[in-house]
């Protein structure tokens, strides 16, 4: 039972980290209709800048702020020079152009920081454990990630659902051109949306970095998972991104814990671990296939047409 609670919390923590990446991707892919392979690079920018700033100042809050802001600014710059030229192009052009960005970003961080930047250490007040369940001490930092994820996503939801900017974003999903005739500076709006998505990815990169080795390409894995999330959740649906992220975070974590244990029954220990781990890494794709068979547009995707 303790193991289950612990792994469930780990799964939620992975899910919320994933959600911060995939919510941005949902805005950019689902709403702006841009396939941005470089979204994972923004995660990486956040992680690297935070590692650098954290290494220099030793202050987690400053590192978090710097990493998030850096990703948002880089995102804004990228939108301004490249992405806005891609809105009316087809997805293949977008994939090619943003894949080039990924390669450039991976080289650039190596040129700037070398292969091993300083690390972000968790802030002192979170560097302890909390007893969340009888006999189960759990790292406070991981709980804080869950809380930060909830806060970030709630703010994003309020922005999209309640504010005028959110109304324009939703109006632009279907009537991008026409929106200008209603006095909205659509280009600026889209730069802002892109920056928000980038900032969220950067934020996720910072908070996740204590669990990762911060190296070139560190965001790529999250990018792939995020695309799976938005396919499962339904393209363009923030609600879908929430359920998709949490579902995949939990399934992935549970599978990695329990499948090796399951194979233990009839294989020797080390083989069970290897087989279990490789089957587990396929688990989210099994979920994706099942969801797409049952609901071809994802859990909360709008029907075609």
């Amino acid at each position: 039972m303790q193991l289950f609670v612990e792994q469930t919390l780990n799964g939620l923590q992975l899910g919320f980290t994933l959600l911060m990446v995939s919510a941005g991707l949902t805005l950019i892919f689902g709403i702006m209709n841009i396939i941005n392979l470089a979204h994972g690079s923004l995660f990486m920018v956040g992680a690297f800048v935070a590692a650098d700033v954290g290494g220099r100042t030793g202050n987690y809050a400053v590192a978090l702020l710097a990493g998030t802001a850096a990703a948002a600014v880089v995102g804004m710059f990228v939108e301004f020079v490249l992405i806005r030229r891609l809105y009316l192009r087809d997805h293949l052009d977008q994939v090619l152009a943003t894949f080039a960005l990924v390669l450039m970003a991976n080289e650039a961080v190596q040129m700037i920081w070398g292969t091993r930047p300083g690390g972000v250490s968790t802030p002192a007040f979170l560097d302890r454990t909390v007893t969340v369940f009888p006999g189960l001490p759990y790292p406070a930092y991981r709980l804080a990630i869950i809380a930060a994820g909830i806060a970030a996503i709630s703010s994003l939801y309020l922005l999209v659902d309640r504010t005028r900017i959110g109304m324009w974003i939703r109006a632009g999903t279907t009537h991008r051109e026409l929106l200008g005739a209603f006095g909205v500076n659509v280009r600026l709006l889209y730069t802002l949306v892109f920056a928000i998505g980038a900032g969220l990815a950067g934020f996720a990169g910072v908070v996740a970095s204590p669990f990762l080795s911060v190296e070139s390409g560190v965001g790529d894995n999250f990018l792939i998972l995020s695309f799976v999330v938005i396919v499962v959740g339904g393209i363009g649906s923030l609600k879908g991104a929430v359920y998709g992220s949490l579902l995949l975070g939990l399934v992935d974590t549970w599978a990695r814990t329990y499948l090796p244990l399951g194979f233990d029954g009839f294989l020797d220990a080390s083989t069970a671990a290897t087989v279990g781990a490789s089957v587990a890494s396929a688990s989210i794709y099994v979920v994706m296939i099942v969801v797409l068979v049952v609901k071809p547009n994802g859990l909360f995707g709008l029907p075609d047409g």
Partner: protein, 232 residues
């Protein structure tokens, strides 16, 4: 708008369109299907780039400006096909565009639009996509009104509506006329339209071929016969 030319990329549609709307005037933009009325309006709002000619509004050149800049000078559009924002509620469709006029006047608000169209008030929490055609049309008009425009442009605002709904829309336009709202209007129901307009411009194949007062148009039935294929 003087000697405007333009179209869609390489496809030229407009060759020589001139339209003028004076303060407080209602001008009808007439012409058969496919003659370039919607194209003229899209060009006016900066949604299409003119290839030559000039568009001036309130003394300023606006040709080549971006749509939001043009709109903020006090133009608002009820587009062909209504085009309400489907993912926003009725209320949000209005809140998204509400704005004081260039001179700071706020005659039209979400509240006064609901007074004008009580039927919309009943459906304020419904998504745009779930409205009937008539309700969508009312919403499209309301959405343009809350921008408190100096010039309101309506493109086929009664197309495909039941006669009673069409009559209701014309009644609203009459109220706007009494309030002195400047309007440029395209509408297929010529008889009704002419009870509203002060002047009319007829275009054919992207050229202005006639313009004059409504009395002149009625007094010269040959014009309507020839360019509109109907009598008046």
């Amino acid at each position: 708008m003087t000697s405007l030319a333009g179209g869609y990329g390489p496809t030229q549609v407009l060759y020589d369109v001139s339209v003028e709307v004076g303060e407080g005037e209602i001008v009808g933009l007439l012409g058969r299907n496919g003659m370039g009325k919607t194209t003229t309006i899209s060009t006016m709002f900066g949604l299409l780039a003119p290839s030559s000619g000039s568009i001036s509004f309130d003394g300023a050149q606006i040709a080549g400006h971006r749509p939001f800049q043009i709109s903020r000078r006090g133009l608002s559009l009820v587009p062909e096909g209504r085009q309400v924002f489907p993912l926003l509620t009725v209320q949000q469709n209005l809140e998204a565009t509400v704005r004081a006029s260039v001179s700071g006047d706020r005659r039209w608000t979400v509240g006064t639009v609901f007074e004008l169209f009580p039927q919309l008030a009943d459906r304020r929490q419904n998504l745009g996509v779930h409205l009937s055609g008539g309700e969508q049309q009312m919403l499209a008009i309301g959405r343009a009104l809350v921008m408190n425009p100096r010039l309101l442009v309506l493109d086929e605002a009664t197309e495909g509506l039941a006669p009673t709904v069409r009559a209701a829309i014309f009644a609203v336009l009459r109220i706007l006329k009494e309030q002195g709202q400047s309007i440029l209007i395209v509408d297929a129901y010529l008889q009704k339209l002419l009870t509203l307009t002060d002047r009319n411009v007829v275009i054919e194949k992207g050229r202005t071929v006639w313009s004059g007062t409504t009395e002149d148009l009625i007094a010269s039935p040959g014009v309507a016969d020839r360019y509109l294929g109907v009598g008046v």
